[in-house]
């Protein structure tokens, strides 16, 4: 395999390692290259300049750039790490690479992404973005101060544009200076250098996001080696040395393969030792492309024409080109191109002072057209951070305004400084200043002497090269955005439609909306608009806003490790392993996994729940209730505090007793509920719902700190410290008696809503509380979390002969609904007051509490609000779907059908031998006895409205079975 366009190492060594050969395939054709090659440089080395046809018009396109500005050469990567769409100029060649060219539209495949993506969070003093001459200089001067410096560059090696050229620093080739700088930076202990790292976001407060590629360039990554890393950098100062992007030129048929940015041509020659063409025309508006012409000539190409828009280019430059064998056409422009798959000729015309064509065009044969429409300082990150830009007529580009406050400092080409000495000097000064203002005083080092510097006299931007015929609105092959296939004619059409804003034109033409976000098209579009509107300068039109990311970032990298099991933490109780072993089916409640039911062989959920319910109602059953929120409320003012937070009173609750409490939001709606125990005069243990625990703690602390800081109260979550087992059913007394022999569990000695501290038979200290969420005799055995599993097993063993049955949340729901106990969040939805629930008994009339005032508002005081009721389907075997709405059976049935309320909870009751439900129904309490109708799934279910209690209304089961 040969690479016919690879320059002999005697002509250009390049930055490729010719001792090793890498092989891949592109569009099914084998490709070879060297370490150091990009996919684009390897293709060019083999003469393959043609990319996939354009997205809409199917026109042939070729590689235009050598960096992230590339609009045409998009590829999909196959293999171990498939990629839907990357830019060939940013893909490093590796052995086994398989790529396919794309016409602007990528493809995601079904392959699972098994790669690891990491995040790093780093604090720094100075972050320097871009490791060209200015950036390296800044990092050196800042790094020498001892400050924590991070230098970030998207290339595989430092140097930036210096790698593309032939300048000399300190009497040596610039690459030697880079080498010395790299060695020094590596030695500095507080300096960190990130390569293959693209600074994609720059946010206010000097917060940066950097996407670093770790293994993309490797044929094979190590196991668990992170493929990419997303760095979050928080720093005191930012120095942006992000360089400048060259602009293409807008002229007829400016999209043929073989048309390439002049800077890219230099890059391919010098960095990659690839000569992209043999017969090259150079078309420029400024000095920089003269160097390209000279290097083309030096590398063995012919330059039959250097076309300069300026009538009087610097004489010494023109002379150098002529002396090297090139031909210079001042005051001229390329006005058209010829060729089929690749450019084969250009037409050159003279320009008059206004930029109109004059004279007779001449045709020149070529296989490469290097264009330079001027330079765009890379102000993306500066602009993202909130900096503003202004048009500078001298450098013909948008430059950053002098930053204020902590905004990033911009140096070098990114602020329109194109000479090497200027870049070095600005970089050294900015680095020293950034370090000094971060508290690391350091002097500015002297600027090393440079040679072979880039010339830069004033450019003559020409936004729109006239075609030889027609008018602007007909110029359908003057491409402005190659990736979007958008032209001058499209822009003129947008303006003709009435649009004046560049944002409108962008949206109308889709210019700058591609994967490249208009890096080569944005400013040219502004130029064409300014030209069309006869604005004084592009500055009068303005730019579109730069938004993160600067270059595309994979979704997976942004997600990092927050995937799979780590997407959100899973909380489990100390008894979780037992539930898993018992075959429990789990449900997500907040972050917890709670056992929903424990099916036995052949049981579905209904069957399992019927069995579990019966056990609780007729024997004994047990549930893991460790997930309930537990908050210790401690302090001399704890009683007063709970009185203000709960709708009912807690100040007079005796020590040793527990009480159910409900809390409301300030607008009177139910927020949470639970049982609180009074452990001591100044100490309560509050329980909350599982899902509401964190929110309730926040709520308590907010009131304490922001409204009642004078109250001496502290709140501490103790969920993680406790495990709890509910032992429920008529036989629960026997079971608890067995595990807690020191405790008198008789009804007389241990009353309802009381708790006792004891030591279990096993020696485990426990707090046992007589609470019931089922209406049955029940105990809640609380033990230190560490003993949770052991005590759970102890309870199971103690009740084995009584058939003790573990049950889950579903059975818990049925049991409590039979008793009409609400579940906050299921039977309430943030629009329900305690009074709506018929729980007047929990609402104190004597004291004020959070939310009380809201009950008196006109709408909240209505007596026909939606109220909690029970429902009994007329067919006792028919189960209402939860969420079904209730309507008047005699009312209209054409939509919109007036709805009276909805079913909040619906179950099949083993104890009742029938179905039942809870519902919120308008004026519900008055409707008890009425028959309503629930249309669901095409049928009507007739229901009778009842009180919201179905089982043991007298409450006799609470004290359980009496034993001798």
């Amino acid at each position: 395999m040969t690479s016919p366009h690879r320059l002999d190492s005697s002509v250009r060594a390049g930055r490729v390692d010719r001792t090793r050969r890498l092989r891949g395939t592109v569009d099914g054709v084998e490709l070879s290259g060297h370490p150091g090659d990009t996919l684009a440089s390897a293709l060019l080395a083999e003469g393959r300049i043609v990319a996939a046809p354009s997205i809409h018009r199917g026109r042939p396109r070729g590689i235009l750039a050598a960096d992230c500005t590339e609009p045409n050469a998009l590829v999909q990567l196959h293999g171990a790490c498939p990629e839907p769409m990357l830019t060939a100029t940013r893909v490093e060649l590796y052995d086994g690479l398989v790529a396919e060219s794309l016409s602007g539209v990528g493809r995601v495949g079904p392959e699972a992404d098994t790669a690891v993506y990491d995040k790093k969070y780093v604090h720094a003093d100075v972050v320097v973005i871009g490791a060209g001459p200015a950036g390296i200089a800044a990092a050196l001067s800042a790094g020498r101060s001892g400050a924590r410096v991070v230098l970030v560059d998207e290339q595989r090696e430092l140097g930036g544009a210096l790698l593309d050229g032939t300048e000399r620093i300190d009497g040596h080739p610039a690459t030697e200076w880079i080498g010395r700088a790299v060695r020094e930076l590596v030695e500095l202990p507080e300096v960190r250098v990130l390569t293959r790292a693209s600074a994609v976001g720059c946010y206010e407060g000097n917060y940066l996001l950097v996407a670093e590629k770790r293994t993309d360039h490797l044929a094979e990554a190590g196991p668990q080696q992170p493929r990419q890393r997303l760095w979050h950098l928080r720093t005191q100062r930012v120095v942006l040395a992000t360089g400048a992007h060259e602009r293409p030129m807008v002229f007829a048929d400016n999209d043929r393969p073989g048309i390439m940015l002049a800077s890219a041509v230099r890059s391919y020659i010098n960095r990659y030792a690839v000569l992209p063409g043999q017969q090259a025309v150079v078309f420029t508006t400024s000095d920089s492309a003269y160097t390209t012409a000279l290097e083309l000539l030096d590398a063995g190409a012919r330059v039959p024409a250097l076309v300069d828009t300026r009538p009087d280019p610097p004489a010494h430059l023109a002379e150098q080109v002529r002396a090297a064998g090139g031909q210079v056409y001042p005051g001229s422009a390329v006005v058209g191109t010829g060729g089929q798959e690749r450019i084969s000729s250009v037409r050159i015309s003279e320009l008059d002072e206004q930029g109109s064509l004059t004279g007779t065009p001449r045709e020149v044969e070529c296989d490469l057209l290097a264009v330079c429409g001027g330079w765009n300082p890379v102000v993306h990150l500066f602009s993202q951070a909130g900096g503003t830009v202004r048009w500078d007529p001298v450098v013909a580009g948008f430059l950053p305004e002098e930053p204020t406050g902590s905004l990033p400092k911009v140096v070098g080409a990114a602020r329109g400084t194109y000479d090497l000495a200027g870049c070095l000097s600005q970089g050294l000064a900015a680095g020293a200043e950034a370090a000094t203002t971060s508290g690391f005083r350091v002097a500015v080092p002297p600027v090393p002497p440079v040679a072979g510097d880039r010339p830069s006299t004033r450019p003559r931007p020409l936004w729109l090269v006239p075609a030889e015929e027609g008018t602007s609105e007909q110029w359908h092959t003057h491409f402005v955005d190659l990736q979007r296939d958008s032209t001058v004619a499209d822009i003129w059409r947008a303006l003709g439609a009435g649009m004046r804003s560049v944002e409108h034109v962008k949206r109308y033409t889709t210019i700058s909306t591609g994967q490249d976000q208009g890096k080569t098209s944005g400013v040219n579009a502004v130029g064409v608009i300014a030209d069309a509107l006869m604005a004084g300068s592009p500055g009068e039109v303005g730019t579109t806003t730069h938004r993160p990311p600067y270059t595309p970032v994979p979704f997976a990298l942004m997600a990092g490790r927050d995937r799979g099991g780590l997407h959100d933490p899973v909380r489990t109780t100390p008894m979780h392993s037992w539930h898993v072993a018992a075959g429990a089916v789990f449900e997500d409640v907040g972050q917890w996994k709670r056992a929903r039911y424990y099916p036995r062989a052949g049981e579905d959920m209904d069957a399992a729940v019927q069995r579990e319910c019966l056990a609780a109602r007729t024997g004994v059953a047990m549930q893991d209730v460790s997930t309930l929120g537990r908050i210790e409320v401690v302090g001399p003012d704890a009683p007063e505090f709970l009185n203000r937070i709960y709708t009912n009173g807690f100040a007079k609750l005796p020590v040793g007793k527990a009480r159910y409490g409900m809390m409301c939001t300030a607008d009177g709606m139910v927020l949470d509920d639970g049982v609180s125990m009074r452990l001591a005069e100044d100490r309560y243990l509050m329980s909350t719902t599982t899902g509401g625990a964190a929110g309730v703690l926040d709520w308590l602390e907010e009131w304490l700190q922001t409204e009642w800081p004078h109250l001496g109260v502290h709140c501490t979550s103790v969920i993680e410290q406790w495990a709890a087992v509910a032992v429920v059913g008529p036989d629960s007394r026997a079971v608890v008696g067995r595990i807690a022999p020191e405790l008198d569990v008789s009804a007389e000695a241990f009353g309802f809503m009381e708790f006792r501290d004891t030591v279990l038979r096993s020696g485990v200290p426990a707090r046992i509380c007589r609470v019931s969420f089922s209406g049955e005799l029940a105990y809640e055995v609380n033990v230190p979390a560490w003993y949770g599993l052991a005590v759970w097993e102890e309870v199971a063993e103690a009740g084995a002969d009584l058939g003790i049955t573990p049950y889950g949340t579903e059975t818990m729901h049925v049991l409590r609904a039979e008793k009409g106990f609400v579940i906050v969040g299921q039977d309430t939805d943030g629009t329900v007051t305690p009074l709506d629930l018929g729980m007047d008994w929990v609402v104190s009339r004597r004291k004020d509490f959070v939310g009380k005032r809201s009950f008196a508002r006109p709408d909240t005081a209505r007596t026909d609000r939606k109220q909690l009721v029970g429902l009994l389907p007329m067919d006792p075997q028919q189960q209402l779907p939860e969420g079904a709405h209730l309507v008047d059976p005699d009312g209209p049935r054409q939509p919109p059908v007036p709805m009276l309320g909805h079913v909040t909870s619906s179950y099949r009751s083993a104890a009742l031998g029938r179905t039942f439900a809870l519902a919120l129904v308008a004026d519900g309490r008055r409707r008890v006895g009425e028959v309503l109708c629930a249309p669901a799934g095409g049928t009507d279910i007739a229901v009778e409205v009842t009180k919201p209690i179905f089982y043991d209304e007298e409450g006799v089961r609470r004290d359980g079975r009496q034993y001798e």
């Binding site: 539209v105 493809r107 976001g201 059409r493 947008a494 994979p554 979704f555 997976a556 969420g883 709405h885």
Partner: protein, 408 residues
């Protein structure tokens, strides 16, 4: 000149004039976003009022209209919401013909996922209510979801498995810019002056009556003034001492590169905070909830984007290697009950349409319809009667939070 299937239809060659503002109008609408333009359009179409100026501080439809994720649906829980949003959806269905503009309305269906048992209950409650309100809605199981959207991860191993979803088949997306341009073009044709880069800075008043607006282009008299200024509404009402229950928050969104079609519908998940569709050109469009803090900076915090992409990759594993190419933020005005405020104000001749939070785009024609009615007649339309400011005094909120329908 456009040939490929990835191309959008060519927009019209004529959209609007760029008139100089007159000294006086019958009606001045503040804000040339979707709602302002729709209001002007329906004032002209339904009420015969043509002497209208729509004043825009920046470029037309450059606020939230340019920044939203283009989802259209009407499957809201509460009667008032369902009526208003479904009226909007019916108007959406007519508008391409009526405006003679193909703005790419695509009724591809919206799935609202449920990941917990409580979300299942809430979702089914909403679907049942939709059915009775005449809004199309279905409850679909994970197996059915897998048929509708095969790339969605319906595996039980998901951290929060998909337990089901509501599906509104009439819901979908439209091309937001083109919607605005379509409304603008018709309004302009009917004589409405669309005036850009003209910022309203205050009001002209006589006692308790508003008589016009103060602008960066000088005072403009108006018989009636309608505010359709989204996140900036309260900045204007503050100048009159009217305190509205609005908080302006950043709302972020993002797009990927263009991809071959893989995602056939719109998927929304409140639980893991992400929603996603694939636009006509092929880019994935994603959004999430608002940033927590008040802000007018058109920028949000990056962790919100990171969380949203983690959720997206969980739900859509094949998006793992898609790329974010652009993120952005708008400023949305949020009310305490997640429902808008549309109606008169304590000042005569001044009307507000605000508080749409994250739901404004889908309501565009419906909001315009009822706001035009309110401005033209001085009285709320029956559809916006429940949306007055007084509900925050009486407690009669239109609280959509309960139905988990707050994300858009």
């Amino acid at each position: 000149m456009v040939t490929s299937r990835h191309a959008l239809p060519d927009p019209p060659a004529r959209l609007w004039r760029n008139p100089e503002p007159k000294r006086s109008y019958d009606v001045v609408i503040v804000g040339a976003g979707g709602h302002g333009l729709a209001t002007a359009y329906y004032l002209a179409r339904n009420h015969g009022i043509r002497d209208i100026a729509v004043l825009e501080r920046g470029w037309l439809a450059g606020g939230n209209m340019a920044r939203n994720t283009t989802i259209i649906r009407s499957n809201y829980l509460l009667d008032a919401s369902a009526a208003l949003y479904d009226h909007a959806l019916q108007l959406w269905e007519q508008l391409p013909d009526e405006l003679e503009y193909d703005f790419l309305l695509s009724q591809r269906g919206v799935l609202n996922l449920a990941h917990t048992e409580q979300e299942v209950r809430d979702s089914r409650r909403r679907a049942f209510a939709n059915e009775l309100n005449g809004v199309d809605a279905e409850w679909v199981t994970p197996d059915e979801i897998a048929e509708i959207c095969p790339i969605l991860n319906t595996s039980a191993d998901l951290r929060y498995p998909v337990l089901g979803a509501t599906l509104q088949r009439r819901a979908g997306i439209a091309k937001h810019d083109h919607v605005a341009w379509a409304l603008a073009r018709k309004s302009d044709e009917m004589g409405v002056d669309l005036i850009q880069e003209c910022e309203v800075t205050g009001f002209l008043t006589e006692g308790d009556r508003v008589t016009g607006v103060q602008t960066t282009a000088g005072p403009i008299a108006a018989g009636r003034v309608g505010l359709a200024a989204a996140g900036r509404t309260s900045l204007l009402t503050d100048t009159l001492g009217i305190r509205l229950p609005l908080q302006s928050h950043p709302l972020q969104a993002l797009v990927s590169e263009l991809l071959e079609p893989v995602h056939p519908c719109v998927v929304m998940s409140n639980h893991v905070h992400v929603y996603c569709s694939q636009a006509h050109k092929g880019e994935l469009v994603l959004g999430a909830g608002v940033d927590s803090y008040n802000g007018y900076a058109h920028r949000g915090s990056v962790h919100v984007i990171e969380n949203q992409l983690a959720a997206a990759v969980e739900l859509f594993p094949i998006f793992a290697r898609a790329h974010v190419v652009r993120t952005w933020a708008g400023t949305v005005d949020v009310t305490p009950d997640a429902s808008p405020i549309i109606g008169p104000t304590p000042y005569e001749n001044l009307f507000v349409n605000c508080g749409w939070g994250t739901g404004g785009f889908k309501a565009t024609p419906g909001a315009g319809w009822v706001f035009a009615h309110t401005i033209a007649t001085g009285e709320p339309h029956p559809l916006n009667a429940p949306y007055g400011m007084e509900r925050f005094t009486t407690g009669a909120l239109v609280d959509e939070h309960g139905a988990a329908a707050v994300a858009h």
